[in-house]
């Protein structure tokens, strides 16, 4: 009997100690342990409080612009000549990505907990922008840690965060990208335990973060489910989303995990190719280890030293993945594929030209595999691709990669 057959539900995790199968947990320094327990308690209370949900819903409607449309990509579908491709348009959210869904949840929680200073790590800068935005809205102090390499390649977002009143700390330790930003944010949190709330930007980190971020992002899948039922009178046949830490993907996937008829695909960043060793595909090219508070698949050497990830997309450039994805991978419920830098650049251009939608480089990774899968499916196959961010932040770096062409 496979693990998959033995499970009644894929939606009940994590257990009370924060584990999804063998993954997850709370591997943090003692200084942070009491804070994480406090957070777990505060989140459980908020979750049970209808007023919390009402407040979040009101912000979704009037501030973020939810629900985001489920858009039938007619020309892309015709171009591919297979499945009907729908795009879940979270790129239309205020601040331009799915990140705000999670941030609003966490910031409302931080307020309930009486925290006055918010810290965040960011890669592409989308989570940083979303956090800076919510902090501006609620008058909270905001400090964003960002790898020095990412500060350079995501300049528009650095400027946006500054406009919004956030303090940006370029991180020059280690590989100077997302994992190092997360290390620095954790060091800040250890130091400023009394007033500070750490707003993690993806479904990773110690319990309860992976669960909490997933819950806040699940609005994507809940809406998509209703919208598809309304449009087509039935569930989709497949879902496709890109994976950095995995928050947009788990947000889309989670409400569908127990619908056995739905094929689910996560797409990691293959950089120069998984075989090259220069990639960010932790499931396809890594193995289980412990980093940033949880056990999950990681890129590392034979001695357990964490390797640098490589991706054209700053938002996917992380050597780990959320623990729930590690578990969904091992159970076989979700299939994890990967997309190279060049394939993502092609998909970036394809969607721009066919649909008039410039995607962020992150979901361009999902588009690349979606197009390939859709081509092999019949015309009545319904596919949803999570278009989790828009490409404004990427136009300068894409122009550089495309040389004169852009």
């Amino acid at each position: 009997m496979t693990i998959q057959q033995s499970l009644n539900s894929f939606r009940t995790g994590p257990d009370e100690t924060g584990h999804f199968g063998n993954f997850g947990g709370r591997f943090v320094a003692e200084t942070l342990m009491p804070l994480i327990l406090d957070l777990e308690k505060a989140y459980a209370e908020a979750k049970a409080d209808p007023a919390f949900e009402a407040e979040l819903k009101s912000f979704h409607t009037h501030y973020v612009g939810r629900p985001s449309p489920l858009y039938f990509a007619k020309r892309l579908t015709e171009h591919v000549g297979g499945a009907k491709i729908y795009l879940k348009r979270d790129e239309l959210n205020h601040t331009g990505a799915h990140k705000i869904n999670n941030v609003l949840g966490q910031i409302l929680l931080a307020r309930r907990m009486g925290k006055t200073r918010i810290i965040a790590e960011t890669g592409a800068g989308q989570h940083g922008v979303a956090t800076a935005t919510a902090c501006a809205r609620f008058g909270l102090k905001c400090v964003v840690y960002m790898g020095a390499v990412d500060v350079e390649r995501q300049k528009p977002n650095v400027f946006r965060m500054k406009m919004l009143g956030a303090e940006i700390v370029p991180v020059v330790s280690g590989s100077k990208t997302l994992k190092d930003a997360m290390n620095e944010a954790l060091r800040d949190w250890v130091t400023n335990v009394h007033d500070t709330f750490y707003c993690i930007g993806t479904s990773a980190g110690p319990h309860p973060y992976p669960m909490m971020v997933r819950d806040f992002q699940s609005i994507i899948g809940k809406e998509a489910r209703e919208q598809m039922l309304e449009r087509e009178g039935r569930l989709p046949d497949s879902l496709v989303a890109c994976i950095g830490g995995g928050s947009n993907a788990i947000g889309l996937f989670h409400p569908f995990l127990d619908d056995k008829s739905v094929e689910i695909y996560g797409v990691e960043a293959a950089g120069h190719g998984v075989a090259s060793g220069m990639h960010a595909a932790s499931l396809n090219g890594g193995k289980p280890g412990v980093l940033h508070g949880n056990r999950t698949y990681l890129l590392m050497d034979g001695d357990g030293q964490i390797a640098e990830a490589h991706s054209i997309s700053a938002g996917l450039d992380y050597p780990g993945i959320g623990p729930e994805h590690a578990w969904l991978h091992d159970t076989g419920r979700v299939t994890y594929l990967s997309t190279t830098d060049n394939e993502a650049l092609d998909a970036f251009q394809l969607l721009s030209k066919l649909e008039g939608i410039i995607p962020a480089l992150e979901p361009a990774h999902a588009i690349a595999r979606a197009v390939e899968i859709a081509a092999k499916k019949p015309k009545d196959h319904l596919m949803i691709v999570n278009l989790c961010g828009r490409g404004d932040k990427d136009i300068f770096s894409v122009a550089e990669h495309l040389g004169g062409m852009a």
Binding site: A29, T191, G304
Partner: protein, 275 residues
């Protein structure tokens, strides 16, 4: 089970003074030099030695120890080679307790059971693994105790009265009180607050309580030695070594002296307090 750690603390208690615990990064600035440094520590006045297991992503460490780990890694240190340092040290010192300190991932990848067996046979006495709180005791703490190693837990300013028993439950050897909420090598501890915290911990345990994070000078050490059973010095040592290096990271003729002089100085501070 009695380890070298238990024996050493019992002896110091008789002597009527606190212990000086020195932290040094294994493999910094290169494996041979680090072995020389570690071998020189007891004579300079170290009573217990913590050897850092280098890790790329040390989330509780400040820039000084982060950099030391990266220097060591760039010169090829591995967990296997760190254990080798201990075996070499043990060739002419079978008394000074050795504690390995670091993060869980390299141990997890080495294999927990194999690591514990190899550590024990290499002459390691205890472990401090920063990212293994009591909530994850099944992972490493309990297997370590079973393998005959001490598992030394960190208690911190955020560990309140209610949580303290949980932190102390499977702790052995000694308790390491982290004197500040923060990373290594950052803020200086407030001696009065530290004294109160040590007293609070002692009300819950008969284990020796040592205090570390932010201790730099003989005066700091003396102040803390009044209340604690041991004083831990790390970043100050590592920094002294770094300052002695060539620009390209190679040791100079000043390197050994830089370590021994600071340890001798701080040891004087610790030993000036009679209890």
């Amino acid at each position: 089970m009695t380890t070298r750690i238990d024996t050493r603390f019992a002896a110091l208690k008789k002597e009527g003074r606190a212990a000086l615990v020195t932290f040094y990064m294994g493999g910094d600035p290169d494996p041979e030099t680090s072995l020389k440094v570690i071998k020189a520590l007891p004579k300079a006045g170290a009573d217990l030695i913590e050897i850092g297991m280098a890790f790329t992503d040390p989330m509780a460490d400040g820039p000084t120890i982060q950099a030391a780990g990266l220097r060591a890694l760039s010169k090829g240190i591995t967990l296997e080679k760190t254990l080798h340092l201990v075996r070499e040290f043990r060739k002419d010192d079978n008394e000074t307790p050795i504690i390995l300190m670091g993060y869980f991932n390299p141990i997890f990848i080495y294999g927990v059971e194999k690591f514990l067996a190899d550590a024990k046979s290499s002459g390691v006495d205890g472990l401090i693994v920063v990212d293994c709180p009591p909530e994850e005791d099944d992972e490493l703490c309990k297997p370590a105790l079973k393998a005959g190693l001490n598992f030394i837990r960190l208690a911190t300013p955020t560990t309140d009265e209610k949580r303290l028993p949980k932190v102390l439950q499977n702790t052995s050897g000694f308790v390491y009180y982290v004197s500040i909420a923060g990373i290594t090598g950052a803020a200086r501890p407030d001696p009065q607050k530290v004294a109160a915290s040590v007293a609070r911990i002692k009300a819950h345990t008969t284990l020796p309580v040592t205090v570390g994070f932010g201790v730099r000078t003989a005066a700091d050490a003396a102040e803390i030695a009044k209340t604690a059973d041991g004083v831990v010095v790390g970043s100050a040592l590592v920094e002294a070594v770094r300052q002695s290096l060539h620009a390209d990271g190679r040791p100079t003729e000043l390197t050994m002296g830089a370590v021994t002089s600071i340890v001798e100085d701080i040891a004087k501070g610790v030993r000036s307090v009679k209890k």
